[in-house]
Symmetry: C2
Subunit: 201 residues, 2 copies
């Protein structure tokens, strides 16, 4: 096989979830497809490396700084939803209802992987909880929307312990049976969580 | 979401087998990964569009013309293995034993998709079956190694009807139980094929 194709396969197989076989299939597709398709992808990649930075307020990926969420006056800047990654921002925004702002941690606490509090954008979040002359924060609520995984829970606990003493309300998104889910096919841990997290009707 | 990321997601989701969710995951990975990774991929893509062409002999993808397979004197140019796509060349080469040359059709006959004989590189193959002054071809055998699918079989039939009258031996790769496969879990069509294709021991 010729070298440029090998090189393309190698680059593609570095992507998450793309093994050598898939990378080969994609590379052959790109070679056989119109030159335009490969060029479009190349220029989109270069554009992304050149134009995307982190928002200085919420640390989300953005082209403008502050990002369009942080500079949107229709959004409630007193409500901050903390997520682990930019894709979570997209997921929550697609769910439709949330009209507050975000804060992206860029990771979750994971001592085994050597990821501690200083590796996450926690200091930036604390800086956003600015207090006025009366010692009241302009932020009314911080919603911790990390995954319901071990790392996500640990990060939520840590953040709560950090922020609560500052007098700011901290909440955690609910964990339980997914919408449309059946009890019969739900694992025990999820059912237990759903029971303990029950709400008055 | 910022525009350059959207554009990257769009370009990635045009790839075969990559839906919008996977494209989004890949795009976020590329944005968060080192700039180098995205740049490497971009340059590999551009290199491929600029340097890869079709071999004038076998129509395989190549940087040099003729390709390294066609110009390899240790390979038997009297034995041509016909495949539908460049990835099939890689698959057969990896299987190890074949020391002949290839011919890439770039597709399979598929009347429903509007793909007829003129859309495949069949004329180029016939041109390779050059005849000497005695009317004997320098090619001893053409092995049709198209998929065992309906389109692959139809293409094989068509090629055989086309080449056999020229006095060149045409063979078809065997179809049957895969190595390591169990009869119990093999579909009826494959077992029937394996039975009718039985060889003396």
């Amino acid at each position: 096989m010729s070298n440029p194709i090998d090189r393309l396969v190698q680059c593609l197989s570095r992507l998450p979830g793309i093994g050598e076989k898939t990378a080969t299939r994609l590379a052959f597709h790109l070679v056989r497809a119109s030159d335009e398709e490969a060029r479009d992808l190349a220029s989109a990649l270069i554009e992304v490396t050149e134009e995307i930075r982190l928002c200085s307020v919420c640390a989300n990926l953005t082209q403008a700084d502050p990002c369009h969420t942080c500079s949107d006056v229709r959004r409630d800047s007193g409500l901050i939803c903390v997520v682990s990654s930019p894709s979570d921002v997209v997921a929550i925004d697609k769910s439709g209802d949330f009209r507050g702002t975000f804060h992206v941690l860029h990771g979750l606490l994971s001592p085994l992987d050597g990821i501690g509090p200083n590796d996450l954008r926690i200091a930036e979040l604390v800086r956003r909880l600015q207090f006025d002359s009366d010692g009241e924060s302009l932020v009314q609520e911080v919603i911790i929307a990390t995954n319901a995984s071990v790392e996500g829970e640990a990060t939520a606990m840590y953040m709560a312990r950090m922020i609560k003493p500052l007098g700011v309300k901290v909440t955690r998104i609910a964990s339980g049976i997914p919408v449309g889910g059946e009890l019969e096919y739900t694992d025990r841990a999820t059912i237990a969580r759903a029971m303990s997290g029950r709400l008055p009707l």
